[in-house]
């Protein structure tokens, strides 16, 4: 389909409302003791200043799954650089998936987290992932490879994060 206005937009936008403080959500995104408890479950390491490094490390489950499927899992599965850190409201960073060689070859993408406090203790978390020039990564992030055991992408991660922060436990602890 062609349209007269707008260019092809290759940004994925995800939003979830969580009954938690902005600080709790910020911590869950940036602190390793939280990042290992939901979603893909790897430990994340952030140097929260412009130019600071971001790295996510492979969890034991990732290494095990990789070994079962017959490929090695790198120690660092995602890397990037912090572009803007305004705790607990906004985090902008680059993001490159290293677990899969095809996705790694697509290079760095740009990821923005926006945290806005709402009424009644409910906070709005918006994730915008700019995946221009990274079609393979885009499929993974949209959950298109879930059936192959590659996780359900951002929707799955954010649903799990909501569950963890609201109930104290992730959706299915058995998978990690």
């Amino acid at each position: 389909m062609t349209t007269s206005t707008g260019t092809a937009v290759t940004t994925q936008v995800y939003r979830v409302y969580i009954k938690a403080t902005p600080q709790a959500i910020w911590d869950a995104i940036t602190k390793p003791e939280w990042t290992e408890r939901y979603g893909y479950g790897g430990l994340s390491e952030y140097d929260l200043r412009p130019g600071g490094a971001y790295r996510a490390f492979a969890s034991e489950a990732m290494k095990k799954a990789g070994a079962e499927m017959g490929f090695p899992t790198p120690d660092v599965v995602v890397d990037g650089e912090v572009l803007e850190a305004d705790p607990p409201r906004k985090l902008v960073q680059t993001w490159r998936m290293l677990m899969d060689p095809d996705a790694a070859a697509e290079g760095f993408t740009r990821l923005t987290y926006e945290i806005v406090e709402g009424k009644g203790g409910v906070t709005k978390l918006t994730v915008a992932h700019e995946v221009e020039g990274a079609p393979k990564l885009a499929v993974l992030l949209a959950g298109g490879l879930e059936d192959t055991g590659a996780g359900g992408g951002w929707s799955w991660v954010l649903s799990d994060l909501k569950s963890l922060l609201e109930t104290g436990s992730p959706m299915d602890p058995g998978t990690r």
Binding site: T5, G6, V9, Q12, Y14, T126, G143, W156, L158, S163
Partner: protein, 107 residues
């Protein structure tokens, strides 16, 4: 109305499902683009988009002077994870129970 109610209400309309399908095919569209696909007034399309936004199924972001509409799949995922999975589990365990029953493994 709960969040789930809003999602189901938003999905219970063919025009709104059509709008979601449009965004699924290609995300980040302006109102003008979405409107061009429908035999409906601009106001009518805006009204439907508002209901989708209230349900969290559509998220808008500014890009320069344009307001772009994005499909947000998270509310559907939440319903799937918290609601549909529950019934599926019960179904599976019911079948497992039946199997045990038939095979005489349970007393």
């Amino acid at each position: 109305m709960t969040d789930d109610d809003r999602v189901f209400k938003a999905l219970a309309d063919p025009t709104r499902r059509f709008l979601l399908d449009q965004l699924f095919a290609r995300d980040g569209r302006t109102l003008t683009e979405l409107e061009s696909e429908l035999e409906m007034s601009r106001f009518g399309v805006m009204k439907h988009l508002r209901i989708l936004e209230d349900a969290g199924l559509v998220v808008t972001r500014r890009s320069g002077r344009e307001k772009l509409h994005f499909l947000n799949p998270v509310p559907i995922r939440l319903i799937h994870d918290r609601w549909i999975d529950k019934y599926r589990e019960r179904q599976v365990s019911a079948l497992a129970d039946l199997k045990h029953e038939l095979e005489g493994e349970t007393a």
